[in-house]
């Protein structure tokens, strides 16, 4: 029951709306089958399968909103949930920022659903892990990893005639390979809508190679260094820029995009002109839902173009107040890059540090977007185009805004997963000068 077809969802939502007596009514439903498998110490630890459905009814009387839900889908229950949302709306305080629900929208078909991913079984998960464990055994390493897949649908309909439906699949895989003596550790991660693109063995081999090569790391002095950030390392820094794209926050003067006198950086050059970031729900490598949870269509949106802030995200209320288009927050972001592989970027580096992964990223100062965190699972010193030796991990204190002004070169984008948020991105590896490391860490 967790997955409804488009016709089933349409019929069900229409039936629910027929019970409404409110000024406006909106119904959201979603359901999913999730599966996961986790392993550590070269054996499976936990795994599971979870199915669930959620139905949410929002009723509005004027600017008073009530929300209720139920997970039983018989007629009596459906009417009951509508009545309950209406009772709550009558009790609710008026919200001056309430904006009437959206009318009908046009959503082109999405490309987010892949049947092969929806058909994953416990056996397929276990087989993928078996491949990964074999790599660990062959290389005498200790593996720990996680594979998680999701097959879900979402639909919404409201009294103004809006109807939206989408199905999506995704699989994320990550693995850490440590040496038996605990002196080396390597990591790799991949995420796809299509599980047939996932090669667990190949991903594990990357982690294994880093794990073996990172043993016997040497300490070098903290300070400013040229770094090459692999996409997984860049993702956890850059997503902090994306979280901060809210126009209201900037307009109110409390964001890194705020400027004196109530102005913002919108339309101004913020970072190096080679930086272009955008979202595109129909990008073949990183497709996302064509609609946001409030029904707004997701379109291709340019966020930073040639270093200039092109668009900010707006709630519908703030957009109405400012008289601009209400652009929703994107589900994923793509950054343009160059044509060089990571290996070519390393080859063209005289002195620098290769960073596989960054960890425990926290905002230190929202004014400058100063972030702190540490390198992890594969940090190497580069000299004259080759990796000379592994180095001990560093803590950094750096702002991604300052970092993107210190850009040296971008490589070829690839799909990666943020270890902090589990969000998928399409990002290039990037060479940055004067990246600030502030102390050494003994962690491996």
């Amino acid at each position: 029951m967790a997955i409804l077809t488009k016709d089933e969802a349409h019929a069900l939502l229409k039936k629910i709306l027929s019970y409404s007596r409110a000024d406006e009514c909106e119904v959201n439903i979603n359901g999913s089958h999730n599966g996961n498998i986790r392993y550590a110490r070269n054996a499976v630890s936990t795994s599971g399968g979870i199915s669930q459905t959620n139905l949410v009814v929002s009723s509005a009387f004027g600017k008073k909103l009530g929300v209720a839900t139920i997970n039983e889908l018989d007629a009596a229950s459906l009417e009951k949930v509508v009545r309950r949302s209406e009772e709550l709306a009558q009790l609710a305080p008026e919200n001056p920022e309430f904006v009437s629900f959206l009318g009908p929208q046009i959503y082109p078909d999405s490309i987010t659903f892949v049947p092969a991913t929806a058909a994953i079984t416990p056996k397929i998960r276990a087989d993928a892990v078996a491949q990964s464990l074999q790599v660990a055994k062959d290389a005498n390493l200790i593996s720990a990893g996680f594979l998680e897949d999701r097959n879900g649908f979402a639909a919404m309909m409201n009294s103004k005639g809006l109807f939206a439906y989408n199905t999506a699949t995704n699989v994320n895989f990550s693995v850490t390979m440590r040496t038996q003596d605990g002196k080396g550790s390597g990591y790799a991660t991949r995420g796809y809508n299509d599980v047939t693109k996932l090669d667990a063995m190949a991903v594990t081999k990357i982690a294994a190679d880093k794990g073996l090569k990172s043993a016997t790391a040497q300490a070098i002095e903290p300070g400013k260094y040229t770094v090459i950030l692999e996409p997984a390392a860049a993702a956890v820094l850059l997503e902090n820029i994306l979280f901060g794209l809210d126009a209201r926050q900037a307009d109110e003067g409390r964001s890194f995009l705020s400027k004196p006198g109530g102005k913002t950086s919108l339309g101004e050059k913020l970072v190096d002109e080679r930086v272009t970031m955008y979202s595109d729900p129909w990008h073949p490598e990183l497709p996302t839902s064509p609609w946001a949870s409030d029904g707004r269509p997701h379109e291709k949106v340019s966020w930073i173009e040639k270093g200039v802030v092109k668009n900010l995200t707006y709630s519908r209320f703030w957009a109405q107040k400012k008289g601009v288009k209400a652009i929703p927050s994107p589900d994923a972001v793509i950054m343009d890059g160059g044509s060089k592989t990571l290996e070519q970027l390393i080859k063209d580096t005289k002195k620098g540090i290769l960073v596989t992964r960054l960890w425990y990223i926290r905002n230190v100062d929202p004014q400058t977007l100063l972030l702190t965190g540490l390198t992890r699972d594969g940090t190497f010193y580069i000299e004259n185009g080759i990796i000379k030796f592994p180095i001990k991990n560093f803590r950094f204190n750096e702002s991604p805004v300052i970092m993107l002004n210190n850009l040296e070169e971008l490589g070829r984008p690839e799909r990666t997963v943020s270890v902090e948020t589990n969000t998928n991105y399409l990002l290039p590896p990037m060479k940055i000068r004067d990246f600030t490391f502030t102390s050494l860490s003994d962690a491996v």
Partner: protein, 545 residues
């Protein structure tokens, strides 16, 4: 909840853009529905269906958790309510051992057929995974408790307090802050009720009722001419209490440079102070980097304890089960076996406790049916113990689990989570003023701020909410742009004084993240104010453009 969201909730530099999108574990429900209870006999019948179905398919051990997880979040800013959300998540998780391997499945369809199928799926998953085992699961023995119950000793169920009363409180807090000069305030009241039922093939049927509350706010003050802004967050603690936490009492206030709170919180008073202090921060002196003696208030120190003691003594991390995500630990088994690993100065005594009333981690039993207790982790500065669950107890030579198993929802598999981990107060009579008096060059830090630590818990960096310079035993004014960096062992060995029991207070994390898939848990950390000598302080000010 996604990591990103609780990062923002915890740090909350950015507020308005994030909070309308707070993800909720569960779905919105009405207020009156949140007060309904599921009958224990109904839960027992469903649990038995699950236990029997798993056994019939070959499970050698099964536990069933039926959970009803209620949240009520009230979200306001300045003069208006942004959202009132009531959510419920109700369903069942079934965990089994079959062919020596764990399997888990969960469903929200609570009928006999669905429960049986879920149990069968859990067994099928366990059998599928058993071919990837290196050794079968070894569970520490656990005697069945029969039919028992435990209820958090709260005075006022926050879910029973009328919404209007709660909204009025937050709006009065906002009004006081705005009148006090704040430019923005976002205030929140988070309330949680876990109604948990646990049944296992050991013969336990445990019904528990757990409550948590967290009132908090985030104030911003802007200097529009320069474009600079400063923030000051609430000094409240999330607690395992009911609405009584918000009924201020004089005996719970510690008066000083700013008022600090024990088991009751005066939100209105703190908001007024915060409005003034956020303005003061704009013109405060930027810190000169260097070595300082730090006086750390419990509203700050809880997070340092959490990160540098709580996480590295989790046995699953020590063993490598979290290597792919949260990381491992520098507190390896050989250090524990040596019985002489010098974790900290000999005045440092740190204990685990899942029984402390009012704490976030308090429960009668953990999520695998083990009765909760208290034990030493660091004694006289030495590492003496970890935090373990049933399938790890044998590694420590224990005959029973320490009761540290927890799942954040019926749909999540339970695993090892941190109990309350707290620093014992100093044995000699000593006040905050006594500690400050002895410092020549130091900084007094109040409130938690930015926090980050490496994956083995050596190197950390912490900020706070309020920083006061100490010169020759006296407070010499406010500082800003402060963060300290240290190494766990070095830091705890620099501990040079701990205030006595009269200063002991709880802090805590409402959304502590761990595991894959990520699960959150709530945990308290108690301490008295403490002094740490010669800690490296950096200046965090930067310039854009």
């Amino acid at each position: 909840m996604k990591r990103r969201d609780f990062i923002y909730l915890a740090g909350l530099g950015a507020t308005a853009s994030i909070l309308p999108g707070i993800p909720l574990i569960g779905s919105p429900i009405s207020v009156e529905r949140s007060l309904e209870r599921v009958d224990v006999s109904t839960k027992k019948k469903l649990a038995d269906v699950g236990l029997n179905a798993a056994r019939a398919k070959g499970a050698t051990y099964t536990d069933v958790r039926i959970g009803r997880y209620l949240n009520q979040y009230i979200i306001t800013r300045e003069d208006r309510v942004e959202n009132i959300v009531n959510t419920e998540s109700y369903g069942m998780g079934i965990r089994v051992i079959a062919n020596g391997s764990w399997g888990f499945a969960a469903t929200d369809k609570m009928d006999n057929d669905s429960v049986s199928k879920t149990a069968e799926l859990a067994v099928a998953i366990a059998k599928e995974n058993s071919r990837l085992l290196t050794e079968p699961v070894r569970l520490a023995p656990q005697k069945g408790h029969g039919e028992v119950s435990w209820r958090a000793p709260i005075e006022k169920n926050a879910f029973e307090i009328p919404i209007k009363e709660k909204v009025d409180l937050l709006l009065s807090v906002n009004d006081a802050a705005m009148k006090g000069g704040a430019d923005f305030i976002n205030s929140y009241l988070f309330m949680v009720n876990e109604q948990k039922y646990f049944a296992s093939t050991d013969g336990s049927y445990i019904d528990q009722d757990i409550h948590r509350i967290w009132p908090t706010f985030f104030i911003t003050k802007i200097d529009s001419a320069s474009g600079k802004f400063e923030t000051r967050n609430a000094l409240s603690a999330p607690m395992g209490l009911g609405y009584e936490y918000l009924e201020a009492r004089p005996q719970d206030k510690i008066k000083g440079i700013t008022t600090l709170y024990k088991d009751r919180y005066d939100m209105l008073e703190d908001a007024k102070a915060a409005a003034a202090q956020s303005a003061e921060k704009l013109t405060a002196k930027s810190v000169e980097p260097g070595k300082y003696d730090l006086i750390l208030d419990p509203s700050h120190l809880w997070l340092t304890i959490h990160e540098s003691t709580g996480h590295p003594t989790e046995l699953d991390r020590v063993l490598g089960y979290e290597a792919n995500f949260a990381g491992t630990s520098f507190l390896t088994l050989d250090k524990w076996e040596s019985k002489k690993f010098n974790y900290g100065n000999n005045i440092v005594n740190i204990f685990a406790d899942k029984t402390q009333p009012g704490s976030l981690g308090a429960a009668g039993y953990d999520d695998e049916g083990v009765k909760c207790g208290r034990w030493d982790v660091i004694k006289g500065g030495l590492l003496v113990n970890y935090q373990a669950i049933r399938d790890q107890a044998h590694i420590l030579g224990l005959n029973e689990s320490q009761g540290c198993c927890y799942a954040d929802n019926w749909s999540s598999v339970q695993f090892q989570r941190m109990p309350n981990i707290s620093l014992m107060p100093g044995k000699e009579k000593k006040s905050i003023d006594d500690l400050i008096k002895g410092v020549e060059k130091g900084i007094y830090i109040i409130g938690d701020g930015s926090f980050s630590i490496d994956q083995q818990r050596y190197n950390f960096q912490f900020g706070g909410q309020l920083y006061y310079e100490i010169k020759n035993g006296k407070i010499a004014g406010m500082l800003k742009d402060v963060a300290y960096q240290s190494n766990t062992q070095e830091f705890w060995n620099s501990c040079a004084g701990i205030a006595d029991e009269s200063d002991y207070r709880l802090g805590g994390s409402f959304f502590d993240g761990k595991g894959q898939p990520m699960q959150t848990s709530s945990v308290s950390h108690g301490s008295s104010t403490a002094r740490f000598n010669g800690v490296n302080v950096i200046n965090t000010a930067r310039k854009l453009g």
